[in-house]
């Protein structure tokens, strides 16, 4: 199981759950499972999110593999200037 940590303001959409356990092997799978478990997250995920996997920021890569021993954070969609 992947433990996905959410940022604080999303907790109002997950009944206060800060860490969501999902069965997935890729970041795309993580997104799919997050929406299945907490449908209220869908609008935010549709607007865009990024991940930090073991501290590395990953954007738009659904095929990026994830493993249970990795630290996975959902973070806002990353942009820059």
């Amino acid at each position: 199981m992947i433990q996905v940590r959410l940022w604080g303001s999303l907790l109002s959409l997950t009944d206060g759950q800060e860490t969501v356990e999902v069965e997935a092997r890729t970041l795309g799978g993580v997104l799919r499972e997050l929406v299945r478990i907490h449908p209220a997250l869908k609008p935010q995920i549709d607007r865009g999110v990024s991940f930090a996997v073991d501290g590395t920021i990953i954007r738009d890569d659904w095929l990026h593999p994830v493993a249970p021993d990795q630290e996975v954070f959902l973070i806002p969609y990353m942009t820059g200037g």
Partner: protein
């Protein structure tokens, strides 16, 4: 996808300082910018803009303008398609207003005419009847229930109840028990700060030339940070397929994030579609200020607790950002970046985005981070001073490092903040004596960096030269860096490599030039493309020598036998292999496409000395030094240029630059005379210290450098000026009137340190 970890250290080309490849074109005027394109039969496009901060459009009558001789097309919002998503819909609605104008300068209707005079005359013949509405331009006022509502129904699902509809987004980050942390503190400082909106200040205004034929196929030339983004957005707004629009990026005269969206391109295309003629549009400077993206202004509360030996026990920040009349998420980056430099047992940041009757915000170098870090670094500085601690030592005591749980959640891998602080501490600047009325300030800064979608082709020409084709406009020297990495990888002299930036029909999608991503991600893809080409060349030579492919290897620009059993073959150079390409399988090329990760976060530390005139309030920057972990500096001149440029822009933000709005909600200073950016005579030589801590996520250890340098200057300047004035400065910019007003009554500037 994951790439080879960092491995190379014995560089021959990377790390040198060759002459810039675009220099001659730029200084001789040969380089073609957005406004330099022309086409036979070209029309001139102009936009009529709102004189109101907020008004309903009751009636729009273009009939008199249409009858004016020389007017060939007029477009309004009705000429656009529905892109189908809020993000692009907002870009569309920012081009030309829908049913109401949302800010002073909001486009209403556009005209294409035979010449500029006719277009200007046509704009005067357009009748627009407005019903002015109450407006709001201040972020705190816009948050209050009862404030004029800029757009209804735009709040996202996380916004708490009870706030104005202007609040469109809310974000919260952090960990630990802040109250418990504050209870352990020997000293707590809580302050509120304000920063004003600043413009990216690029010298080249937005410009484009659009041509759409009767077959629906279009060509677009424009100055942009991302031609592929322009294609995607324009195709959606015009309702055409992406393959019907080819976008070519011009040379670019500055962007800094402000050219990561569109302001005129879909309008020019719509005018061209309607008129059947090419249409050129060039924004006037006042239009650039009134209608293109400044950064957010902000109102921020920070509270930090510290023990008497300088350990931070807890910190909180509430950040309220306004990004104009359309939703944006810049505040979320401020909330994530605010405390990123520190290892904290308890931290909590909350951020709100608020709509106001101002132009739609656009990205600006490390968007959202400078103002948040300014507020936090100001309070850290104040705590250090009140506890009689060295401000740099306090930062070292609390510095984030490998294994630190960051303030925005993830655990940091290897990062360079401590090394950067140590370099600052050891630098002569930090202990240099100060003169009368002078003071010193410092600040840390942070930015995320990322990689993103990238596609590169590399061709080995028959004469042994190399052509690299990439898709990201060069805003900071990337062509040089890309060529250098290709030369390094292939073992050929740099002057054998030429890198060009191509149009949207010639490569797969490339994300815009932002996020400090290009030297990292395009460089990475270039290295991989070169490796693909090398592999092909090795295979061909092995077949020429009639030995196994595994029996050859690449060394110093040549294919050589891999060992004694491979036979006695003289090295075959890239040029020799290229010369016989026709006879060994045809053209030789390498290609790579990726969504790159592994960019690695970036930290910097800035030290500045200022001299404050207590009679006028003028602040002069007398010395400035930038320290930054750049990873491997591919072309150190450009890295230093990024560090100096970020510092210069940050100095402008800290001291002079601001959007000034009148009571009528109209922008008072839409020009460089009244909106003052620093000029060369305002600045001292900006010293730079590059720390080359290899990024493990890149084969050469490269790390993005372009954005972090604008983060620390705001607080570094404010900490210095606060010391000189003897009062904590809490409002940027610290323009002379604000500094003068801050001096305690009857006091003079004090000598600091």
């Amino acid at each position: 996808m994951a790439f080879e970890r960092y491995q190379k250290t014995d560089f021959k080309v990377v790390g040198t300082r060759p002459r810039r490849p675009d220099g001659i074109d730029k200084v001789t005027g040969k380089a073609l910018y957005g406004a330099d394109a022309t086409a036979p039969g070209m029309l001139v496009g102009r936009i009529l803009r709102s004189p109101h901060a907020h008004a309903r459009i009751l009636r729009l009558d273009t009939s008199r303008a249409e009858r004016l001789s020389g007017v060939k097309a007029i477009v309004t919002h009705a000429d656009f398609a529905d892109p189908g998503d809020d993000f692009t819909r907002d870009i569309r609605d920012n081009l030309l207003a829908r049913d109401k104008v949302l800010y002073d300068g909001h486009g209403v209707v556009a005209v294409a005419a035979l010449d500029a005079e006719t277009a200007a005359a046509a704009l005067k013949l357009i009748e627009v009847e407005y019903a002015p509405l109450p407006h709001v331009t201040d972020v705190d006022k816009a948050m209050r229930p009862g404030a004029p509502v800029v757009q209804e129904g735009r709040s996202n699902e996380t916004v708490p109840a009870g706030l104005s509809q202007n609040v469109t987004g809310f974000w919260e980050f952090g960990h630990g028990d802040a109250e418990a942390g504050f209870a352990k503190a020997d000293r707590i400082v809580e302050r509120s700060f304000r920063t004003e909106a600043t413009h990216q200040g690029y010298i080249e205004p937005h410009a484009c030339l659009a041509s759409m034929g009767s077959d629906g196929r279009a060509e677009l030339w424009c100055c942009t940070q991302g031609q592929f983004m322009v294609r995607t957005v324009c195709a959606a707004i015009l309702g055409i397929e992406a393959s019907h629009l080819r976008v070519t990026a011009s040379e670019i005269g500055g962007g800094f994030g402000g050219k990561t969206t569109v302001f005129i391109e879909p309008i020019a295309l719509a005018l061209s579609r309607k008129s059947g003629k090419p249409v050129k549009m060039v924004m006037k400077r006042a239009e650039v200020f009134r209608a293109t993206g400044p950064t957010c202004s902000s109102s921020i509360d920070v509270k930090i607790g510290m023990t008497r030996d300088g350990r931070i026990t807890a910190g909180t920040a509430n950040l309220r950002y306004q990004g104009g009349a359309f939703p944006c998420e810049t505040a979320s980056f401020g909330a994530q970046a605010a405390f990123a430099a520190y290892d904290m047992p308890a931290v909590r940041t909350r951020a709100w985005n608020v709509l106001t009757n101002r132009p739609k915000e656009a990205a600006y170098r490390a968007p959202g981070a400078p103002m948040a870090v300014y507020a936090v670094e100001s309070v850290v500085d104040e705590l250090a001073k009140t506890l009689d601690l060295d401000p740099l030592e306090v930062r070292l005591t609390n510095a984030a490092r490998k294994g630190t749980k960051s303030s925005y959640g993830p655990t940091f891998p290897d990062i360079g903040l401590v090394a950067t602080l140590e370099a600052a501490k050891a630098h002569p600047h930090y202990t240099a004596p100060l003169g009368p009325n002078q003071a010193r300030g410092l600040s840390c800064g942070f930015w995320f960096n990322f990689g993103g979608n990238t596609c590169v082709s590399l061709n080995v020409n028959s004469d042994g030269t190399i052509g690299v084709t990439e898709g990201n406009p060069d805003i900071g020297g990337s062509r040089a860096s890309i060529s250098m990495m290709a030369a390094e990888e292939l073992g050929v002299p740099l002057d054998k490599v030429r890198t060009v930036i191509t149009d949207t029909n010639s490569l797969g999608y490339n994300d815009v030039t932002d996020g400090s991503r290009v030297t990292f991600a395009v460089g990475l893809a270039t290295i991989e493309a070169a490796r693909a080409a090398k592999k092909k060349m090795c295979r061909r030579v092995s077949r020429l020598w009639e030995i196994d492919e595994e029996a050859v290897t690449w060394k110093d620009g040549c294919v050589v036998p891999a060992g004694p059993n491979a036979g006695d073959h003289p090295p075959m150079s890239l040029a020799e292999i290229a010369a016989i390409a026709d006879n060994t399988g045809g053209p030789i090329a390498g290609h790579h496409e990726t969504n790159a990760d592994g960019a690695g976060v970036s930290f910097g530390v800035h030290i500045c000395d200022v001299e404050v005139d207590s009679e006028t309030g003028a602040v002069k920057v007398v010395r400035y030094t930038v320290f930054q972990d750049a990873g491997k500096a591919v072309h150190p001149d450009y890295v230093e240029g990024q560090m100096q440029g970020g510092a210069a822009q940050g100095i402008g933000w800290a001291l002079n630059e601001e959007y000034v709005y009148g009571e009528d909600g109209r922008l008072q200073n839409p020009g460089f005379l009244d909106y003052r950016v620093p000029v060369a005579s305002d600045l001292p030589p900006i010293e730079t210290v590059i720390l080359e801590i290899a990024n493990p996520g890149h084969p050469y250890g490269v790390r993005g450098v372009g954005e972090t340098p604008i983060v620390p200057p705001l607080a570094a300047l404010s900490n210095a000026v606060s010391q000189a004035v003897g009062v904590r400065m809490t409002h940027l910019p610290m323009s002379p009137p604000r500094v003068l007003a801050a001096f305690p009554s009857g006091s003079a500037a004090r000598t600091a340190r």
